[in-house]
């Protein structure tokens, strides 16, 4: 059957460099002396650790439980002892650490007993929970929890399930080798996904530079004899493996800004994710291993089946890292990020480990001014204007960059690849994106602080009102009580205090007594620094005392003179 294919704008055709790592089949990498399994390997909440240092774990045991729905579990890839649960270096451009479970394998590889899961009989919700607890996330690079994408909340609205086997980035061949060896199970996984989404058809897109993979898939499809399955060979052009680009090539649907492909009835998964779904449902196998391409400046470029958590240095040892290597990259040469060190582990997102040398990837030429040639706009597969984005990101004019749809940029690197001025355009976009995210976080924090502050003020106000109301009620009730027990009029001091407004004679007496006590105390208390004075100081003190006395006398005189009927006195007081 001939299918009409469509095309996306832009794109580039870099040298694929895929030959070296596809010569030999996938090799199973032995277990390293220590596995470092980061808890947070996917988009969404960080899983809660379920083990602590000293615990024994078994192969396939859950060591981190999904935190909330937008999260996914992590599992132990073998049996052994938990050495530590502590922050470890992450395979991330920041070079920062994050919580990880460190396991020392015991070499026995004892499996945890699998709980049988009859996914044929289970409800879609149960299947999704099972996938979440099996740690299945998108293995194409975005590591988005797969169970969220398989939601039947939009039942019947999904028309096409796209399985992405394009693998367009140079050097990376992990999906290619996986399709060659596991074609049948990939397609079985795709069938399960199709059922969950109630989609009409499944389109598996494979670039035409992978004829072996396409042939294997076609043979497997023939074996399954499923009319809804279609293996489509698409032209090789980077980045045909981008979700939006592949959807456009296969279905002709162009997903506009701010919308998702699901709005147009298309959902997209990577081939390795389809296999992980199948393994999780049919074999109860959680995601603990993945295929990693090791390529670039190594003696034996190859694809390895690696336990997640294996230190990157251990993987490179097996591939034979050449001595002139200067940088290690996770991912491909176009989109990969430099690794901060060989201690960082392989994670679910690690599709390729690339060793770079000055000969293989010459250092970037110095950045020259933008000449506005527009080459980047011609190359952009997301139909953006990279030079405008660059201009606004460079001048930290983030609002304008967003107006030019910065967040539609998939960071494929086509613009930087074609730029005649060698501007590291993607670096500017990454910088602008992370700045905007930081600002949004700050803004959210400020909004929540404002809300809490206003609520606190409102509460304080309410408490004040309530107290005033209580007091008013009490003082209204008191006089009534007073008149009631006026018969036994020998009020206790407490009673007298409570009935403040009612000035009865006993109360006046009490106050008088208290004031007298205070006066007596004041007179008794002598100034502390008045003994052992020199005659000079004594004279000064005496003079001051005399002045004070005179002032008091004068004041008394004035009051007695003015008090009777001087209307200006009151005014003076007020003015004072």
């Amino acid at each position: 059957m001939l299918r009409q294919l469509f095309s996306f704008n832009g794109g580039v055709k870099p040298d694929p460099n895929k030959g070296a790592s596809t010569r030999e089949p996938i090799a199973r990498l032995p277990l390293p002396p220590q596995l470092i399994i980061p808890l947070h390997q996917h988009i969404g909440g960080t899983p809660r650790p379920l083990v602590k240092a000293g615990d024994r774990v078994l192969h396939g045991q859950r060591i981190g439980a999904a935190d909330g729905n937008v999260s996914s579990a992590v599992h132990a890839p073998t049996s052994g002892t938990v050495v530590a649960v502590e922050p470890r270096l992450m395979p991330h451009a920041s070079g920062l650490s994050a919580m990880a479970v460190v396991i020392e394998p015991d070499g026995l590889d004892l499996r945890i007993e699998r709980e049988p899961f009859d996914w044929h009989a289970a409800t879609p919700g149960e299947v999704r929970d099972h996938l979440r607890d099996a740690g299945v996330v998108g293995l194409g690079g975005a590591v988005f929890p797969s169970h969220l994408k398989l939601s039947a909340g939009t039942a019947g609205s999904t028309d096409t399930l796209v399985i992405n086997g394009a693998e367009c980035e140079p050097f990376i061949t992990c999906d290619d080798m996986l399709m060659r060896s596991e074609a049948l199970d990939i397609l079985r996984g795709a069938q399960v996904m199709r059922k969950m989404l109630a989609a009409r058809q499944v389109l598996v897109g494979v670039e035409d530079n992978k004829p072996d993979a396409a042939a294997a898939l076609k043979a497997a499809a023939a074996e399954l004899s499923d009319a809804s399955l279609d293996i489509v060979v698409v032209p090789t052009r980077y980045p045909a493996g981008g979700a939006k680009q592949l959807i456009r090539v296969l279905t002709g649907i162009e997903v506009p800004h701010g919308r998702r492909s699901t709005d147009y009835g298309v959902q997209c998964f990577n081939v390795a994710t389809a296999l992980a779904v199948w393994n999780a449902l049919e074999h109860g196998e959680p995601l603990t291993r993945r295929i990693v391409t090791v390529a670039g400046n190594v003696e034996r470029p190859r694809n390895f089946d690696v336990a997640i958590g294996t230190p990157i240095g251990f993987v490179f040892e097996h591939a034979g890292l050449k001595p002139d290597t200067d940088t290690l990259i996770m991912g491909g040469p176009m989109m990969g990020v430099p690794l901060p060190g060989v201690e960082a582990p392989v994670v679910k997102a690690t599709n390729c480990l690339l060793a770079s040398s000055p000969a293989l990837f010459p250092p970037p030429e110095p950045e020259m001014p933008c000449i506005r040639c527009g080459e980047c706009a011609r190359a952009c597969p997301a139909d953006l204007q990279p030079f405008e984005l660059y201009w606004h990101a460079r001048s930290r004019n983030f609002g304008r960059a967003q107006e030019y749809h910065l967040f539609d940029c998939i960071e494929c690197g086509c613009c930087a690849y074609v730029c005649p001025s060698h501007i590291p355009l993607v670096d500017y976009y990454r910088y602008a994106k992370s700045e905007i995210w930081a600002r949004e976080r700050d803004k959210d924090a400020a909004d929540s602080a404002r809300e809490r502050f206003e609520f606190r003020n409102w509460r304080a106000e309410r408490e004040k009102e309530e107290k005033a109301a209580r007091l008013a009620a009490r003082s209204a009730a008191k006089p009534a009580a007073k008149t009631a027990d006026v018969a036994d009029s020998a009020p206790s001091p407490a009673d007298a205090q409570a009935a403040a407004p009612a000035t009865t004679d006993p109360k006046k007496a009490l106050i008088e007594a208290a004031m007298a006590r205070a006066r007596a105390q004041k007179e008794a208390a002598a100034a502390k620094n008045t003994d052992a004075l020199t005659p000079d100081q004594q004279a000064q003190v005496d003079a001051a005392e005399a002045r004070r006395k005179r002032a008091a006398d004068l004041l008394a005189e004035k009051q007695t003179a003015n008090a009777p009927a001087d209307p200006s006195a009151g005014q003076n007081d007020a003015a004072r």
Binding site: L96, Y431, R452, F453
Partner: protein, 191 residues
């Protein structure tokens, strides 16, 4: 002549009625300028500006009683944004009100806390949890780093701890070529 007058009169009445209706229907609550200024302020409610909270400071700026450079938590960028919004000249932060510090959160040393609740009363955003004679603790996600709880603490058990970057909050750096110091440059290098 009469008809022209009537037309004008009719027009005047109709437009007047429309304006009157609009002023009732589209009445704005509060002062939009104050809200715009308030949106720029960092909402730490720390009072370093000399006003009891961000909203009063925003009101004072809008009323012309306060300058735009009195908010240390907002920092230089905050001053620039205010200058942009109000069409005023940028001026550096007034050191009288404090200096810009990296974002910190308060942390209670739980072993030393005596449970006096003074910090709870001081916290403007209710970020401290505790009860009388019980240990208190600070919800780090809600803490704005205003430092208002530090002074009232009689046991001196509250410390301000700068927030460290995590993998999720880390930011890509502005792309620049690192300028490497020349080998024979004077040994005194900027720290």
């Amino acid at each position: 002549m009469i008809s022209a007058l009537l037309v004008m009169l009719g027009l005047a009445l109709a437009l007047g009625a429309a304006l009157g209706a609009a002023s009732v229907l589209f009445r704005t609550q509060g002062d939009p300028l104050v809200d715009k200024i308030d949106a720029i302020l960092p909402q730490t409610q720390c009072g370093q500006c000399g006003y009891p909270g961000c909203k009063p400071y925003a009101t004072a700026i809008a009323g012309g009683d306060a300058d735009i450079n009195q908010c240390p938590p907002g920092g230089d960028e905050g001053v620039r944004k205010l200058a942009d919004l109000l069409g005023r000249e940028y001026k550096p932060l007034n050191a009288e009100h404090g200096v810009e510090k990296p974002k910190s959160v308060a942390v209670i040393d739980e072993a030393t806390c005596i449970g006096c609740t003074l910090c709870i009363q001081a916290c403007p955003v209710d970020a401290i949890v505790g009860a009388a004679k019980q240990m208190h603790t600070i919800v780090a996600d809600l803490c704005t780093g205003c430092e208002l709880c530090v002074a009232p603490c009689p046991a001196d058990c509250i410390a301000m701890v700068p927030v460290a970057d995590t993998v999720d909050t880390w930011k890509w750096r502005y792309p620049v070529f690192d300028l490497k110091p020349v080998m024979h440059a004077p040994a005194k290098e900027a720290a």
